[in-house]
């Protein structure tokens, strides 16, 4: 089983960031069978980190493990786009 390392860049406590966080948590729970390390970075508090990783948009999810590194921009509401980008073929269906 693959271990995932995620970095989620959000801005302050705005709605986009909140949605991205909850959407990501749902995906982790429902679609990813392995262990996940998630770091949430608030660019308002830590712009230097955004600079270092050249993040333009918020929310941005960066998957650093497993390789290759992938970037997903947005509030992660398009679940299938996220899963496709993460290289996960999901057996489950999404329940709203």
């Amino acid at each position: 089983m693959t271990d995932y390392v995620f970095h989620l860049y959000i801005y302050g406590s705005n709605a986009l960031g909140k949605r991205a966080t909850s959407n990501l948590n749902l995906i982790i729970e429902n679609d990813l069978a392995s262990s996940v390390t998630l770091e949430i970075i608030d660019v308002k508090l830590d712009p230097e980190a955004a600079e270092q990783h050249r993040v333009l948009a918020t929310p941005t999810l960066i998957k650093t493990r497993p390789l290759p590194t992938r970037r997903i921009v947005g509030d992660l509401s398009d679940r299938s786009a996220v899963l496709e980008a993460l290289g996960v073929i999901s057996e489950n269906h999404w329940h709203e």
Binding site: Y9, Y11, G12, N14, L16, R19, A20, N23, V43, K44, P47, E48, A50, E51, R54, V55, L56, A57, T58, P59, T60, T69, R70, R71, I72, V73, G74, D75, L76, S77, D78, R79, A81, V82, E84, A85
Partner: protein
Amino acid sequence: MSSTYSELKTPDRLPTGITGFDELTHGGIPRNRSTLVGGSAGSGKTLFALQFLAHGVEQFDENGVLVTFEENPEDMVRNTTSLGWKLAKHIDEGRIAVVDASPVAGESPVRSGNYDLSALISRVEHAANKVGAKRVILDSVGALFPQVVDAQIVRTELFRLVCALRMMGVTSLITAERSSEDGPIARYDVEEFVADNVMLLRNRQDNERRRRTMEIVKLRGAAHMTGEFPFTIDGQEGLTLSPLAAIRLNHTSLTTRISSGITKLDEMCKGGPFRDSIILVSGATGTGKTLMVAQFMKAGIDAGERSLLFAFEESESQLTRNANAWGVDYAKAQQEGSLKIVAEYPESRSLIDHLVRIKQIIEEYKPTRVAIDSLSALERMSSSKSFREFVLGITSHMKSVSAAGLFTNTSEKLMGGDSITETHISTITDQIIVLRYVEIRGEMRRGITVLKMRGSYHDNAIREYTIDSGGINITEPFTNVAGILSGNGVHTLIDDRKLLANMFEANSD
């Protein structure tokens, strides 16, 4: 913030430090606002922006932020290392902060749901706070559109960024690419939402050469000059402008007279040309223009002045040899430092580059006399507009340093006729001397006349002259000949000098 409307003032200016630009805009770009610089690929907009940042640190003690959306910042800095300003040093010393928003290689982001560019805005704000920036450049915003995909988001967010910068009291310069030299100001209609002020840089083909120009399209609430202004990019300063129209006609006029080197010609000018006048000598090939230059130079050398000769038709050794034949020792004068000869092919550089160089040499050598032999050689390689700008640039520069100028012009026709050079620049020059061939009874003779001389009486006659080892010998006025200036010398039976003078008057209009 002003508490009442009547306390509001027109926007203050922030000098860029770019030579010529601050004159063109009457002081610089509006402070605390954003200015859009549009231009096609290779028009010099990135250089302009980087120069604005570097000059900020070097000349005005103002720190800055470089935000790049397109090129990698290392490459941008590397491209400026040959220039006189030190971008790399300012970055290392923490006076210029870099925000690298260029595309991350091999990582095209996947989109899932809504987003904004708060991270970018935070980064720029953070960088500006870190160095206490007064100047920010965004280069170039068009590159953000393919990166972000959703154009509407880019527009909204750029607008938010520009507002944030304004709140911080920062002056920003935003570059944007255009797909052609004419047509829309920038791709993606950037100007509609980000800029109070718009300027365009152009790089056009002009007589097989590139001609770079700058135009201020709008400067909100502020006066500026209109039209396209030529600029050049050199290896030292970078971008420099020559806003010729910015030159005001406020040179002090001198009443001192100098010698043209030909005693009789000085008499025809009632004592010689003025100290700061620009003289145009026009004539067909072989009429003695280069000789007149030699005599003009010699008069300067003899008077202990410093003379400068720009030769565009002959090499230095050829000029020296020919001058020797007329008793003018160029080599000795050069050794003694009273003469400098700069011989070049007209095609060696563009007209605007010639102008910059000629000005530089005048600055360095500080001559009191300058000759250009010939102007028409330079004219051949340019459009009439840029040629006029060139002559205007040189004459005004010479007037500002109170140097006398003698420019030669080769008229195309052997007999009479006028040339484009004359018609285009005759109003810029103070004095015009015309040399003409005159055919009288199957014999070729030469005639000279002072066509115009500002601020002085002058001889109206067309006098005959000969050339020998002593140079130009001016003798008596032609009599019984009419139509010399038009090139059709007609022998008249009436000995009437007045008639001759009248014909000349008619021709000079």
